[in-house]
């Protein structure tokens, strides 16, 4: 069974669980606040996941370790290589 099929089965299971509780085919009649929380729950999970992704991206951007010296050295080597190759006849 592939990973895709596994994820789809998990999603289908959660979706069925949500539909049974929210659309109330069994006539269980949960208390009103619980049903009000349950209805937007899939959208809530999506928004929560989106917030987590955004926060992770922002945090890793802010704490990224630049290597200034290595960057300068690399730029210098690129410049040398260009000069060398254009002298040998390669067109840029």
């Amino acid at each position: 069974m592939t990973k895709l099929v596994q994820w789809l089965c998990g999603l289908a299971l959660l979706g069925t669980g949500w539909a049974t509780l929210a659309l109330d085919p069994l006539g269980l009649h949960l208390p009103l606040p619980c049903r009000q929380v349950l209805w937007p729950f899939p959208v809530y999970l999506l928004v929560a996941f989106g917030c987590y992704s955004l926060a992770t991206i922002g945090y890793r951007l802010a704490t990224f370790n630049d290597c200034e010296a290595a960057a300068k050295e690399l730029q210098e080597q690129i410049r040398e290589a260009r000069a060398d190759l254009s002298r040998l006849g390669l067109k840029f």
Partner: protein
């Protein structure tokens, strides 16, 4: 990371934290608070808690699609003529 990177990065963290807290209170906490409490005036009617994320998601998909179309348009090569 440069100062600008740090500013943007931590700004993103703060924004997503704020959004998460507001949305959590809206969806999960408010239904359990009596409707005559003052906190309800800080939150939109409940229907918007689904329509706004759905519309935002559609806009996101739209922008990504437009971006892909623009990039592919710029990179198109004329078809080679074969002898």
């Amino acid at each position: 990371a440069t100062a600008m990177d740090q500013l943007v990065g931590f700004g993103l963290v703060a924004f997503s934290l704020l959004l998460f807290v507001y949305y959590t209170i809206w969806i999960i906490i408010l239904p359990f608070i009596d409707s005559d409490h003052g906190i309800h005036k800080f939150f939109l009617p409940r229907e918007y808690s689904v329509t706004i994320p759905v519309i935002a998601g559609l806009l996101l998909v739209l922008f990504v699609g437009v971006f892909v179309v623009i990039v592919m348009w710029k990179n198109r090569k004329p078809a080679k003529k074969s002898d």
